[in-house]
C-alpha cells in the first residue's frame, strides 16, 4: 500500500493498493450495490489503470467535489470510480471502471484513515493477495483504455496515452 497527500486537501491521507487473485469480487460488488457502510473504498478494475497519476487526478477531483458538495454520486469513493471515466453516464462509468463479478485484480483507493487500520481492514474484506502498485502495468489492458478514453492507434507513447487520459478526466466536468 502507498499513501499520498493531496496538496489542495492535505487533511486526509489517500491510500492506494493493489489486490491480485481476488476470489470474492461478486460478493464485494453486491455489498457495494446495497450501500454497505463497511465498504468505504473505491474498487477499481486494475485493467483500466495505466498509472498512479491517473488515479490521483481522479481522487483529487472527487475530494474537491466533496468539499464543494457537488458530488454526482453517493460518496467520495464512488465518485473516484465515476471520475476515472471520461463520460458523464454514471452507470456506464461504474460498470466500466468499477469491479465486475469476475474481476481478479482490483485497485483500491481509500480517502482518509490510518494506513495500518486500512490495511488490516482490507485483509479481512478481500479474499486475495495484496501486491505492489509497481505491478500495475502487468494488468493494464491497453485496448480497453483506448476504447474508453477514445485514444486512437496513432498515439503509441505510454506517456502520451497517460496525458490523454489525465486530460479527459480533468476536462470531464467542464464539457
Amino acid at each position: 500500500m502507498q499513501s499520498f497527500s493531496l496538496e489542495l486537501y492535505p487533511s486526509r491521507q489517500i491510500h492506494i493498493t493493489l489486490y491480485i487473485n481476488v476470489k470474492n469480487s461478486a460478493e464485494l460488488k453486491k455489498r457495494l450495490l446495497s450501500h454497505d457502510q463497511e465498504l468505504k473504498y473505491a474498487f477499481i478494475d486494475a485493467k483500466i489503470v495505466l498509472d498512479k497519476f491517473q488515479l490521483l487526478v481522479a481522487v483529487n477531483n472527487a475530494v474537491h467535489y466533496e468539499k464543494y458538495s457537488i458530488l454526482k454520486t453517493h460518496n467520495v469513493h464512488s465518485e473516484i470510480v465515476y471520475n476515472l471515466s471520461p463520460t458523464t453516464n454514471i452507470s456506464e462509468s461504474l460498470r466500466r471502471f468499477g469491479i465486475s463479478d469476475s474481476t481478479n485484480e482490483i485497485v483500491i483507493v481509500k480517502v482518509g484513515g490510518n494506513s495500518d487500520e486500512v490495511k488490516s481492514h482490507l485483509n479481512t474484506l478481500i479474499d486475495g493477495e495484496e501486491s505492489s502498485l509497481d505491478e500495475l502495468s502487468r494488468f493494464t489492458d491497453l485496448n480497453s483504455i483506448r476504447k474508453y478514453y477514445k485514444i486512437g492507434a496513432n498515439v503509441k507513447d505510454h506517456e502520451e496515452i497517460l496525458n490523454m487520459i489525465v486530460g479527459s478526466i480533468a476536462i470531464k466536468n467542464v464539457n
Binding site: E7, Y68, V166, N173, V174
Partner: protein, 217 residues
C-alpha cells in the same frame, strides 16, 4: 490555492503559480475578480473564460498539437492546473540563433507551421499567437503552444487569418528581418492544411486592413 505555491507571473487577467501537484510539478493559472465589474457578472464571465481555456487547451492536445497537459480545472476558484513545461520560448530562441537562413531555421519553421496547421484544422483559434507563447520543450524539442487564455473555437477563415496575422505582426515587430521566416512558416502551414487556401487569401485581406474589420457600411 496550494500552500507553498510560488508566484511566477502576474498579468492583467490572471496570476500564474508553480507548485508540486500529485507527484508532479504544475503551473496554476488563477483568474482573479475584476473589481470594476459587477460581482455576479464578473464571476460568470470569469468562469466562462476558464472553461473555454481548458477546453481549447485539451482540444488542441487531442488534435496532436503539443500543449501543457491538463491536470485539473478548479471552476470554483477559477483556476487551471497544468503541466509545467521546461523549455525556451521561441522569442529567446530566435535571438540566440541570430541571423535568418532557411537551412538553419528549417526545422523550427516546419514545427511551427505543422503545429498551427493542426490547431486550425481542429478549429481552435489561439487568439494570442506570439513568439512568447510558443516554446521548445527541453526534453524532446517538440514545439509547445501555451496560453490559451484568449482562445475560442471557430471554423471561419477570417478568424484563422487574424490568428496568423497576429503572429506575423509579432514576428515583424520583435525580430528584425524575419519576413522570410514567417513566409516559410506559412508554406509549411499551407502544405499541412488542406483548407488553408481561403485562410491565406483572407490573410492578404487582413494585412491590408489590420486586425479589426471595418464596420463602415
Amino acid at each position: 490555492m496550494i500552500e507553498n505555491a510560488v508566484l511566477i507571473k502576474q498579468g492583467a487577467e490572471a496570476r500564474v503559480y508553480t507548485a508540486p501537484f500529485l507527484t508532479r510539478t504544475a503551473i496554476i493559472k488563477e483568474r482573479f475578480p475584476k473589481t470594476y465589474r459587477h460581482p455576479i457578472l464578473d464571476n460568470k464571465l470569469t468562469t466562462r473564460r476558464v472553461t473555454q481555456e481548458a477546453r481549447c487547451l485539451f482540444k488542441c492536445y487531442r488534435s496532436g498539437v503539443d500543449t501543457p497537459v491538463l491536470y485539473f480545472v478548479d471552476i470554483e476558484n477559477n483556476a487551471i492546473y497544468m503541466e509545467f513545461v521546461k523549455g525556451k520560448t521561441l522569442k529567446d530562441l530566435i535571438s540566440e540563433m541570430g541571423e535568418w537562413s532557411s537551412s538553419k531555421y528549417e526545422e523550427l519553421t516546419t514545427k511551427i507551421g505543422v503545429a498551427l496547421a493542426k490547431m486550425h484544422s481542429a478549429d481552435v483559434i489561439h487568439g494570442d499567437l506570439t513568439t512568447s507563447n510558443l516554446l521548445l520543450r527541453e526534453s524532446n524539442n517538440s514545439l509547445v503552444v501555451i496560453d490559451f487564455g484568449l482562445s475560442y473555437i471557430s471554423s471561419l477563415p477570417e478568424d484563422k487569418a487574424v490568428d496568423l496575422y497576429v503572429l506575423e505582426k509579432t514576428f515583424l515587430s520583435t525580430h528584425p528581418n524575419s519576413e522570410s521566416m514567417f513566409t516559410s512558416i506559412l508554406d509549411i502551414y499551407k502544405n499541412n492544411y488542406k483548407a488553408s487556401k481561403d485562410i491565406l487569401s483572407k490573410l492578404a485581406e487582413v494585412r491590408l486592413r489590420g486586425r479589426k474589420r471595418s464596420m463602415v457600411g
